[in-house]
Symmetry: D3
Subunit: 341 residues, 6 copies
């Protein structure tokens, strides 16, 4: 394909008009040479719904391909949202790292990159880097708010939550936490780190955009109960930021979101060897430091007893390993603790 | 390695003495040339516990590599079993298709074969075929009973059950069903087919050995609740066949096992296209023909509504898809119905 | 999936009723375990159009995945054919080796088998072998005529023709040749071999079914001119065998099909080394033994002159290499000669 | 290999003397560690022919491995060129991205990079990046003129042409266009973009070197007719720039090159889904907006009619899809229109 | 390629005349479909030297691709042998499993089969099986003697020897051992097994052909000293069987070959875990049961001492592991003991 | 895993305290997302032994995964070293590029990078780049001395030596050479290059740290004799730098290390084609320019004589090809010459 004239140097072409009122279904077209199609492109569906003069929010899912509650929610939202019911602009990318989502894997088979470790990206890099650069440099500047819908994928099962960083700027922190409260997941995790590395959440925070991440389940399937939380949560956020009318209200079952944090590495358990992980507790249980967290079994030697892993911190069993088979260095447990307000 | 003298033509060498009393931890050694080790072998752990003159039972797990409740149970049983507490012989292979189990996948990376589609095997075939031939021609003849512990793997989540075929021979049928009742899973599935194809269960049945298969969960992790059923079940079977003392008793929570069947293809739903499956019901729910079973979403076109899939039969939601991402022709639902006694 | 009861031992399930009048779009469902779907299946579309009591013909394309004139023709025929316009039964499989056709390659990525080297197949073999067994043992017995539509694929460009074997039985030979004349490709190639090995054409001939193969172009694209010949040819055959009304008539441009043969290995040129093949003549040219057929260039040594390849036989340039890059032993030229009647 | 002293930091070593008169066949040696050869290197053949004091031109082919008219032409030119018949210097790299050319694919199996998206390269990057850096930083500075010979590869068939960018600098534009006219392909495509991205053509233009690209056919074979144009064209260019004696003259068949352009994205058709593309017209036809450009067929559903694709612009059918099998987002048609002079 | 007429059903074509006097360089042409060359073939070089009426011997090397002393010897012999100096026929295949030899690996990348585990082969099987069938059913019947030249490959280093089986038939045993004595390697290993499985040596023995295998070094390089033994050995055998004039004489350095055997599995050491093997002794050393044979180190845990492996038998260190990195079940030591005559 | 707060931007976490006295076995934990473990990490064992106030030395091995004398030596040293016997700090990484070492290959399967071409690394790059950045920016600043233990790997066999660069700074040169003399390998190679590119040795030199590399054998096994040199050498260096008590003494067999160099490219032989390399001389032989260095054989054409390769320089045969199979451009010989002092 003849080199495309593009003053800002991203080779990505948005086949949608971000300024046009109404609802549009369009695509981000990313060039990707293949041996059987040198000028081939990959089209990433994007939806813009716009009405009047309100704020802009960007909802994304499929940042990792095997995280599904967000993808289903945003597909449904794309069709359901009526421009007449909003004031502002909603930009939706239901399956952002599209080749990974089509493949049903965290990373895509194109370049093997973790998309959420690729920000701020590179317009001359690999597919994930080119796309991350576009999202960071073109889409984030359009936004007043951003929310990236994650789940635990194959490797983890996570207790349904939103997540944000413990930001230095108290106003930004307040606005982000209000957004999390509005979403109203059972739990809100405030991560203590200031610099969260090459993630979309951190990219948004660097641009001073109130932003949320989330972990809405795991094990690479659609958890029905968490899907209900998610569908409700994105509408709550739309109401909270003033794009939709109405007020987010506490969930009938659990009321307000419980604000928690993961204070240090004692909350994690990483396995010391490859093996088969048997957990001791169900996700969401309250657990106690010093008690067994699970056992690591070794099929190569049935005479060897399993290694007993022990909690090093007390709290909520926030994350548990998604699959029994683990490799040396895999985390199998993360504990969350209530956050001092 | 110099060609091994082996009158029965299997190249597999058992480094264990099946007739020796007491407990032994040994291996089945299967030759497997690699480019960096022409005379390399793969060692599959096997345990034999023997005392006195009672019957022989073979317990196997890891027929598919990513099914774990059985693997953990048999590893624990291997260490726990005291020769003094039995009368007879217990042969245990906790991770039978060992390279698949090490890889955490249904099939092994060596030959890509489904081990449970490889019986009666072939001593000159690929790894799975050589091993299936050994299990069928050497181990089954030693047995009075056999039980192969499966779960649903990555692709399925299954309501905890044992499974057997609806056999023509009423005595064999009775003995197999008694064994299932003894195991006492919440559900027992009687599959109507006489000829179950190239599975280990069918191989045992052809040799007139009362045999059970099972589906003890799924999604490639260790389900704590099902693990408890399995640990209890294998001991119940040992008591039932007279190797261990004592009597299997009904489970305190659900009492007797509910005997069910899958009468025809109306109980299955196969997806007509690749997509993202959202289930309508939780595993184990009682569902009704004509009601929605789930929705198939399409990330490539957010403007397209999902396909609604409908139950074609009423009954227990026995199997549900393990992962959201599905390919054309994948089953996502199997319904079981009570069996007329 | 519970082992399916199947007296004839093929695990393939036809989701179509071969005896039902009218037009049906159905599928052959072939079990294919994947690591993420143990009970997965592959659905191969099949179409049956039936009316009254006439003969049965089976049309197949996509035996090799990258041969397209036949696939397009049979897809169009599937939709166009009105049961009312036929007397008999037309069974159509537009993309027989379906995973290869979806992949756009000669062989499929599932087992790497050449489907047309897999007959008579094996119900316990790999995907291609299971499918070949079904086509041979289930579909061919339903047929009075069979036609398998090939082209040259990536590796070859072939002058548009039908092909059949020089059969010992004069009546069979006559009937097959009449069918080829009816199809009315520019050329008909009579291959001298009696035993053509493990191909579908040979499988049909063994069952005494008048059968045709063909080579309707090549280079893995749709040749517009050859597509016109193919669309016309399949209707001509339907008329010839009496399923459709009407009479095949000579093509306005080239009249009758020219009957030719490839008498011996002198008609072939295989390259002696890997290199870059530059042909001397256009496909379909009349060429002369002793003249240059092309040149083999060597990018690894620009100082080395190319090897000049010379025709060893005179005749029609029937096949020419599809791609410039060749490996040792690749054929780059096949010459056809007029057949003495 | 002990670290090589290289003040300019490229690890590439030219085993040829660019300043030596006469004809030399040499190599660019690029280090490339392999698991079985840590100090391995890849040798890319290069030819230098030098005589007297005229200008320097660099001819390259095999920028993409599966584009062959240029490779054959430059191999032949390498042997044919007599230093005595020139005044100046001709540098020839007949198969520049050598591992891709050996592999017969657009990209090489070493790093999967598209070489013509790798400029200006990186001396510490992957193979393609290291080589691009060398070509850009070492070879281009030697040149007064540059020509990079492309064809359409597996994915495209292109109407034989040269190509250049519509440059801002009128003198550069004039000199480049004169060079294209001298080459005298049937068509000259003036691409409107100023910044053509990371291509060799753009790299030359950035260095103010009059430069040409070209598309001399496609489908990964050697088109005999286009080869004749190419062989004639490179000699025409040598005469035009004064390295060879004589004057380029209009082609006897088509006279002067027709100068055309591709004004906007309406000239392209990208397919909206994966399928099988059947073109409506032959390459080089004059086509009309609103008329059918082809059809997209779906083997997964023979009951579904193909999607009819429609030309959105009138003009010359400049590019057509090389293979029938297409993926979502692949271009299948590009239209060129006469350029207002 | 049109199906080839072949009454004996092997698709392999010998492009050489086994009955023609003089020296011929020809090929075995084995069909092998590729995605880019459906009618592709693989040519395996074969040499026939024939004169007068003496016996026929078949020399083969490259049965495993990474074993080189035999390949070099037979390449040299092919060129050196003058028909005038022989009486009989010498058939030479210097690189029998040709794609493996080109790849420098034990097995070929085509089907991953160990060629020496593929006899008696299958004319419809994979590449290795088709070729083994041809060698067994077509070439062996032409032979009076056979010798297959192996070395240890990447995985082993072996003390230079010939090898044969301890055959039941005393006359066959005598003739084979005489042949080994004539070859005059430092050591002759008599393997005790009667049924040596699917090897070429066993295939020859089944056809009552005196046959030898050998292990002429290892580690996938050319051992200069062993190469001298091999070059001398093949000529000694030619003299011994009467094809060449002259008499084999004892080697000046070690005199007669030492006849040894590997009596049982105590002579082997297989590693119990993956690790890094450090040998205690040099190849060819005389070692003592109970002494350290080497150490298995674990890079994953520097605090863990290595496992000390101990010789279970005394004798000559005949084989030692070729590479330090080992997997569970790999043999690292084989001991040979003098054979009671 | 929540983004980790890390002011210096390396995502690597050292689970060890570099300042704590005594001996610690710890790990460098490097994040590495996998599809089945998004928050997975790779743990690289590291050992710190510290006592008192002496200097710090860093010993590394497994920079390339298939080089073993260093790995075994450092594993043994890790366990053997008693904090009481040192004054200072010894940091040991026995298998630095850990995934490559586990895989038994030069490069790791994670990113295919040559770790010793990855310095100074990139904290946002691939696994090898992230690790190189950590070693360069975190570990080297702790060091007074550094030694990186290499061998030849699969591709080379090297005469046991240490290696250093011919540095501009005479004091640095003196200190480095003294360290090499202390190590006391049979040979010391002084490489003439100042800028050795992206290696760890060059990274240390840039930081003005006296540093050594080495080549302690090859062919990917543990050479017993060289292991003895290595074990002795690292203790000699510890004594030389004053961390251990005692004085390095000349080796009883060869006395002082012979200081040599590789003056120019005439000392190398690269093969001009792929083939089978037969060396003429044993490693360590003194060879003469103009004499045969070996022969390149061609299995694809037994009638073609091998290419004779000739030494272009006289001296010690320092490196010889590790495996017989070579590709175009592979070095097969490197000659070292005595260094004028």
């Amino acid at each position: 394909m003849p080199g495309t004239s593009d003053v800002s140097h991203s080779p990505v072409i948005a086949e949608i008009d971000f300024e046009k009122p109404g609802k549009q279904f369009g695509a981000l077209r990313v060039p990707q040479s293949r041996n059987d199609s040198g000028w081939g492109t990959i089209s990433i569906p994007i939806v813009v719904v716009k009405n009047g003069k309100g704020p802009t929010i960007l909802f994304t899912a499929g940042n990792h391909g095997d995280e599904y509650e967000g993808q289903v929610t945003l597909l449904n939202l794309s069709r359901a949202l009526d421009p007449q019911e909003i004031e502002g602009r909603v930009i939706i990318i239901p399956a952002m790292h599209f080749p990974a989502a089509l493949n049903g894997t965290r990373m895509s088979p194109i370049d093997g990159k973790d998309f959420n470790r690729s920000f701020p990206g590179n317009p001359r890099g690999t597919f994930a880097e080119v796309l991350a650069h576009y999202v960071d440099s073109r889409l984030l500047p359009l936004c007043d708010f951003q929310m990236d819908l994650h789940s635990g994928g194959h490797g983890m099962d996570v207790y349904c939550c939103t997540a944000l960083h413990d930001l230095d700027d108290p106003a930004m922190m307040r606005r982000s936490l209000d957004m999390a409260n509005a979403f109203n997941a059972p739990v809100t995790i405030v991560l203590k780190e200031v610099n969260a590395g090459p993630t979309l959440l951190a990219a948004a925070e660097k641009r001073k955009i109130p932003a949320l991440s989330s972990e809405l389940g795991g094990r690479a399937y659609v958890n029905i109960d968490n899907l209900e939380v998610t569908e409700r949560g994105v509408r709550n956020v739309l109401k909270h930021v003033g794009i939709m009318k109405g007020t987010p209200a506490p969930h009938p079952r659990y009321g307000k979101s419980r604000v928690m944090t993961v204070p240090d590495f004692n909350c994690y358990i990483f396995v010391p060897r490859a093996g088969l992980f048997q957990p001791a507790d169900h996700l969401g249980a309250m657990v106690t430091a010093g008690r067994p967290a699970g056992w690591l079994h070794f099929i190569e030697d049935p005479s060897a007893p399993p290694i007993e892993l022990t909690y090093k911190a007390s709290g909520l069993l926030w994350c548990t390993r998604g699959e029994a088979r683990v490799q040396t260095g895999d985390p199998v447990v993360v504990i969350a603790q209530d956050r001092a307000s």
